[in-house]
């Protein structure tokens, strides 16, 4: 995965031309093979952890439906396969997963994949927009801070980064709502689109983007703060290296050196962190979705955990893990593209 670099002691192997493509394919194949036991581990661990939690969806369901007849409860237990030993339930679940069957949510009376599909696009949209914002702001601010090191601009960027790093997401979200929605009335308070909006496809997209601004800021600025700090220190470190000095000696302008040589190499730690943080971005979206009533997987996960809706919880965990694994593979490939000297093991 991202960050597993060749040892600094070993001479870097530089892949060229078609061999780079072959190396990328090798990497992809290796990562996909590694993903299988990883996914299996995710499924087993989550399944066991959920089994350890007190209370079950059957108890909650019979409670909500005021079912007291032991025979009915036993029938429901059999219907839902809860009378099987835990290991058999796990084997059945894994077997079903291999056939892309995520199970059935008896609480919602619909297949798990349908329940998640209703919510996943909203979460992916929020994640992608937040990461894009974080990268754009973090990289830009980090570059500015490093170029203007020990100036007012450097201090301003550092203070802002510290603030957004320290501010809890839910608090920042509420403050953004108070300022931009309640006081100024510029942006919607929450939701993903205007209810009953009939403005057509183009209008609908604009409407969603309008609703996306505040949750993206609330989620993305925390990560932007991290990327700013990492980018700044990375830029300063790379700027001291010999090849930069050589580039300057060859007469390249300061901007050319910064953009073409320093920036590209300084991006590597940011890309590493990006891969590692994909899971935390997904987790962070749970809180932000709650604040902004964003109809994503976070709200579904919250409800499902609260109601012990295990099939949905497991489904979200599995799909979430897939998203994180896919993102990490993409990060590895970006890594290779950024620095051809590096072959990720």
């Amino acid at each position: 995965m991202a960050g597993e670099l060749a040892s600094p002691a070993a001479p870097p192997r530089i892949a060229r031309g078609s061999s780079r493509r072959a190396a990328a394919l090798r990497l992809l194949r290796r990562r996909l093979i590694q993903a299988v036991p990883l996914m299996l581990g995710v499924v087993v661990i989550n399944f066991v952890l959920i089994q350890l939690a007190p209370g079950s969806f059957l108890e909650l369901m019979t409670a909500e439906n005021q079912v007291s007849d032991p025979a009915t409860i036993e029938l429901l237990r059999k219907t839902y396969g809860l009378d099987d030993p835990v290991w058999l339930q796990l084997v059945k679940y894994i077997w079903a997963l291999m056939q892309f069957d995520f199970g059935f949510s008896y609480r919602q009376n619909r297949p798990v994949i349908d329940a998640i599909s209703d919510h996943l696009p909203a979460t992916l949209l929020l994640m992608i927009s937040s990461i894009t914002l974080a990268l754009a702001v973090g990289v830009s601010a980090g570059v500015v801070a490093s170029v203007k090191v020990r100036t007012f601009w450097d201090s301003l960027v550092s203070v802002a980064a510290m603030f957004f790093f320290a501010a809890p997401g839910f608090w920042l979200g509420i403050m953004l709502i108070v300022l931009f929605s309640v006081k100024l009335g510029w942006l919607p308070v929450g939701g993903m689109m205007t209810i009953g909006d009939r403005s057509g496809a183009a209008g609908g997209v604009l409407d969603i983007l309008h609703h996306l601004i505040l949750p993206t800021l609330a989620l993305g600025l925390f990560y932007a703060a991290i990327y700013t700090r990492v980018m700044r220190s990375s830029m300063l470190e790379v700027a001291q290296l010999d090849f930069v000095r050589t580039a300057r000696a060859k007469g390249l302008s300061r901007n050319q050196v910064t953009i073409s040589h320093v920036l590209r190499n300084a991006l590597l730690p940011v890309v590493t962190i990006l891969g590692v943080q994909m899971g935390t971005v997904l987790a962070g979206s749970v809180v932000i979705e709650s604040v902004f009533s964003w109809p994503g997987v976070g709200s579904l996960l919250f409800d499902s955990v609260s109601s012990r809706n295990y099939p949905v919880v497991l489904g979200i965990m599995v799909l979430g893990s897939l998203v994180v694994i896919a993102a990490n593979i993409a990060v590895d490939l970006v890594y290779m593209w950024l620095d051809p000297r590096i072959e990720i093991r």
Partner: protein, 536 residues
Amino acid sequence: MVDRNRVTRRVFGAGVLATGLVGGAASGFAQGTPRRGGTLVATWGGGEPQACYVPAGGGSSPTFSSSKLFERLGNRAMDGQFQGELAESWKPAADFKSYIIKIRKGVKFHDGKDMTVDDVVYSISEIWKKYSAASALTDFTGVEAPDADTVVMTFSKPVPEFFFSSLLCGSVNYIVPKHVYAGSDPVTNPANNAPIATGPWKFKEWVRGSHFEYVKNENYWRKDMPYMDRLIIRYVRDPAGRAAAMEAGDIHIGVFNPVAPPDIKRLTATGKFVATPKGYEESVWSTTLECSMRNPVFAKREVRQAMFHAIDRNFLAKTIYYGYARPGTSPIYSPNKEFYTTDTFSTAFDPKKAAALLDAAGYPKKADGKRFAINLLAAGWFTENGKIGAYVKQALEDVGVAVNLSVPDRPTSIKRIYTDYDFDMAISNQANPSEPVPSTTQYFTTDGIKKGVPFRNANGYSNPEVDALVEKIKVETDPAKRKALVFQFQKIITTEAPLLPILELESITVASTRVQNHSNDPNYLAASWYDIWLAS
């Protein structure tokens, strides 16, 4: 026959609920000529339901979403009178063992089919008896339709008229379309997520995680109703988010404590919102404290009484609920004008008395200052329960009772209290209508002990005197005698103290001043909102 005059005379007597409800009219009552059209956006103080309609009720959230679509045979007005909804009237036989219900004519389901007596018979026998009113219909023997306008319900024992009227008005005792539900499992019928019913609003869309969209039922049997074109039920998980959405004008009305108490004061101070406790008289919530009879310590009544004497309920109401609660004094709550009495045994705050009772019961303080230790479970479905638990722990420790407090989440609380009976004392909640049988009495009767069934008798209290008294209350058809029996029930329970409400919670509706005709039903969360409108 239940028409407005007769019910007032027979069941309620003079005054009833009118005093104090209509008198201090909420600003939600209509002002001026109703304005037609527009969209009303509503929310409530909880999350999205598991299904739009749950035959057994399923909690407040599906009740809120389904009650705008479905209707009941009867309804209870703010003045306490029962009135027909899908029934035009009902009357008991001379022996009170059967009731004749006249069904309203000209009512159509949302799919255009006529509502008939077959739908009523199916709903009572297949939905009410099996799901929504199973615990109330223990003496039910059958239902039939002798003609196209009449349904007859029969019982093995006399059924009081107040009980029967309350049953017809039960919050989820809906009339469902037989042609949609017959031959299916009602619990898993897909129509539960896109209901077809008779109510003023027709289901249009459910955007999961966001909202329900309902549109006006053009064929609604109440002429020219509803006033508005669309009703949106929007779900906002975070109370602060709800407050912001209301302030920004995105949500017009929120029922059942939509925002935190400080935000209620802030919003109403703007003059653009009103907050009212009206509309919850038939679903009063309480915070209860109960002592498990399975722990020998609580076998002595004096010990149970001491636990309640140790707790300052006024302090809890003021500090934890910001004044939106009042001390509980009886298992029947104070807004219940039919059955509430102040003539009960008082376990008011008196730590010295608590200590004396514990001494007398044979539990003096030991060398370490403790008398005995208990496990206190505060059900974590309301945040406030945890805070109350922290206070109760301190209060009991002040009188020498060591307390191990736990605040598990909802599923764990339900399991530990109602399935595993894993507590010595438990802080929980109830919401009860005016009719005490069975919703209130099942917390105290022996037949209320049903392992695994929540919101019943979990503490194991069993008293033949109480069981016999409740059986009398169930079948006493004379309103005055029945009232006296319920008073007697309250006296015994407050003295015995196996479970008592320590707080009666004041639920609040917050609405924009533009919203008219709101909070005009004693169970407003479960009302159909057919007459609500939005001023310009």
